[in-house]
Amino acid sequence: MSYINVKESKINKLEYIAKTKLNASIEDEIRNSEITIIPMTNYREVKQMAFHHGTTDFLRFLQQELPTSKIGICVNDEDYVELSLNSIKTRISTIIVDNLTSFKSLVIKIAKYIISLGYKNVESTIIVPTNKGSAFELGYNGPAGLYEKHHAEAINDLIKKAGTLLEDFNNED
């Protein structure tokens, strides 16, 4: 049983840079980031940009664990809002990953993060851009213990199936 759902996606960084009306310096930071956390925009049809509860802790964790990676969060500090769903399951805010190396390290670190918090289940979405401007979305909803394994399998399948679409993404490795 796979806990990952892979589908095509229209999400891209530029769209979020525009949506979040970033300050100039933050916009540069996001354009250059390899791992970008983006907000949800329309949860239960409430027009409020927000990140899942605990995103600042998650961001700090990633920055400590991946000190050489460029990690960004697509929001101005003054606009930062969290959505708390008070759920037993941990939810990671959606992340856009620019290359395969970053994808692999990110998945390992997310798994470590979830386990360090003691959560059993996790829900996350990782966006993988293609060289044609579109993207694939890897949505995970399942046990924390299988997070890394299922992502590794899913990305390998995706690279095989998507072929040249993921050329840039693949070549980064």
Partner: protein, 271 residues
């Protein structure tokens, strides 16, 4: 009173628990002195001892609440003990039987498993302003105040305080809640606490060793109804919920989308 003396007393738990003492005032003073003399290591150790003292005392209070059959308050106290246990166990590694903590953890978890609560209210909220409990700095992505949630600073545990909430996108009914206290109480109905009462009858002291194994299944509606009669007829006939919560079927499992809860308990008492 010195901290070592209090620690020695707390280590005796649970022997002589009927004359157990609360050291919270002494510990408060010890922590104040440690903070005043800028001794962070001592202040943090006093925090750990404070938590142990609170857990032991709350555990004993739990059985007083059980005696007067205040079950919902007991349930809330179980959750408060569970949270304190989680916080302190992240910061101090308890050896087996040390301070009676492992036994308390087991008993608390066992009691939580046998309560009849099935559905809980879970609120969804936007947090617009969050501040650090230690320095009051506003939490934002690019300004890290230096205090990590769950760590100790001068005898206080760091956490986030929500100072402004935004819209309220929804309320969900869940069966595995973060906030266990948020039990749904349908008007004019009460839960069936007989399993908790029968378990308490079997115990000669709060520290008796006992175990409960639980098999919890969700029987999908299709199977539940196919094994019985026609759906409409059955809905009219069932008054008490088959999940044995004590509530009416209408206000209990019938509102679930996935099916009916079926739970089997297997108990093992040492005495």
């Amino acid at each position: 009173m010195k901290i070592d003396k209090i620690v020695d007393e707390l280590r005796k738990f649970p022997t002589n628990y009927s004359n157990w003492q609360d050291y919270s005032q002494e510990l408060k003073l010890l922590k104040k002195n440690a903070v005043d003399s800028n001794d962070e290591i001592l202040a943090n150790w006093v925090w750990v001892v404070e938590q142990i003292n609170k857990i032991q005392n709350e555990f004993l209070s739990l059985f007083n609440l059980f005696k007067i059959k205040d079950f919902h308050e007991s349930w809330c106290l179980l959750e408060r003990i569970e949270l304190k246990l989680k916080n302190v166990m992240k910061l101090y590694e308890f050896e087996k039987d040390e301070f009676g903590i492992r036994q308390i953890e087991k008993v608390v978890s066992n009691f939580q498993d046998i309560f009849p609560y099935r559905l809980f209210i879970s609120t969804e909220l936007y947090y617009k302003e969050i501040n650090c409990s230690i320095c009051d700095a506003k939490i934002s992505p690019r300004n890290f105040c230096g205090h990590t949630k769950g760590e100790l600073y001068m005898g206080e545990i760091a956490h986030h305080i929500v100072n402004e909430v935004g819209e309220f996108p929804g309320i969900a009914m869940v069966d595995d809640p973060v906030h266990k206290y948020a039990v749904g109480f349908p008007q004019g109905e009460d839960y069936d606490y007989s399993l908790v009462e029968k378990t308490l009858d079997k115990l000669s002291s709060p520290f008796d060793d006992w175990e409960v194994k639980i098999e919890r299944k969700i029987i999908p509606w299709k199977i539940f109804y196919s094994k019985r009669k026609r759906k409409r007829q059955l809905n009219d006939e069932i008054v008490k919920c088959p999940c044995k919560s004590g509530l009416r079927f209408e206000t209990c499992c019938k509102i679930r989308s996935d099916g009916i809860v079926s739970i089997t308990y297997k108990f093992k008492f040492s005495k």
